[in-house]
Symmetry: C2
Subunit: 204 residues, 2 copies
């Protein structure tokens, strides 16, 4: 098909097609949109993409994403945040989800993934030693394990629980409640979700 | 939320979110993927996007997309293609769809859209004069109107039919068949599609 499309368009379709979940048809649509759009749209996108990795780094304490010229995450350095309470999440974007609730005033710790033998991710690839270090250094009182409700997230949560106990650290360890999501009918909630909802039932 | 995410990430999410059909969550996923991927992935994407508009132009005869350093579309200049048969399409990517069938050996003419009063697109914005010119210049015998099966595509087809007749050009004018798409059950085919399928029924 080389002759059918100009090579710059083929290249753009190929590169856009590397984005997660983007097939050929979607990549074609994106490329064609950029071709028709004002040239500033493409320029700004190209700049944003090429600046992304250079201008973003991980916070050395919490591993949240921060500006390359910042020292520590503002969610950690902010004196109004409770450093004795740490929510442990898998990925930096999970922080946004929790912050959107407006209900958490502690700090975060990003593991950088979840334990997944299939993907070759073991505990040694996660930021667990740095978490253990924080527990004593910041005199942490409670760790909320906020990993995903997936097999990998559950394994990671169980590993962390055991690991912290084995390290001889006396601390309150909690997990996010599992149950029926708001707006979902009982009949559509999965069996495991319902089991969690029954186990976690609360008195009125 | 400015403090939650590094500004380079926010910018990337904003710019990726301008792509058609991409919401905030998808843009976040794309940006986060680029952040984690090898830096060459982002660099190649940025290059591809910024080279796109500069290295692609429209063929002055068929208005297909061609390399900026080409003169005319290869689908037109190729001597094995039948210049006396012209398929008229709305957009350059429609050519790819027709070429994939491997069943068409004529040439193409891209209108550059379809007549749509709501979007402010009238016939004067389409490459219709250039089509009329080709009809006599290339001694065209048949024009296949291959516009989309949408209201705009239908209006454009009817307009072209009348316009070519009014210009006093005696020519075979055909349209793509409307009917039941392969693999679709009768019960799922829409009412209008079924009407077309009945009207266009053929003897065994």
């Amino acid at each position: 098909m080389a002759q059918l499309l100009p090579s710059a368009l083929v290249t753009a379709i190929d590169e856009l097609g590397r984005l997660p979940g983007v097939g050929v048809r979607t990549a074609e649509r994106y490329a064609y949109f950029l071709l028709r759009a004002d040239s500033r749209v493409g320029e700004k996108l190209a700049d944003a993409v090429s600046n992304l990795k250079t201008n973003v780094k991980n916070c050395p304490v919490t591993f949240a994403l921060i500006d390359a010229d910042e020292d520590v995450s503002e969610l950690y350095s902010d004196p109004s945040r409770d450093k004795q309470m740490v929510a442990v999440v898998e990925e930096p974007l999970d922080i946004i989800a929790l912050e959107r609730t407006g209900q958490f005033n502690g700090t975060y710790h990003v593991l950088g993934g979840a334990i997944s033998p299939i993907d070759g991710v073991g505990p040694e690839q996660l930021h667990i030693p740095e978490l253990i270090e924080r527990l004593t250094k910041d005199n942490v009182q409670e760790v909320i394990i906020a990993t995903n409700a997936s097999v990998e997230g559950e394994s990671t949560a169980l590993f962390l629980q055991r690991h912290i106990k084995d390290a001889g650290i006396e601390i309150k360890l909690t997990r996010l409640a599992r149950g029926i999501p708001v707006g979902v009918d009982l009949e559509y909630a999965g069996q495991i979700t319902l089991t969690h909802a029954l186990e976690g039932r609360r008195a009125f």
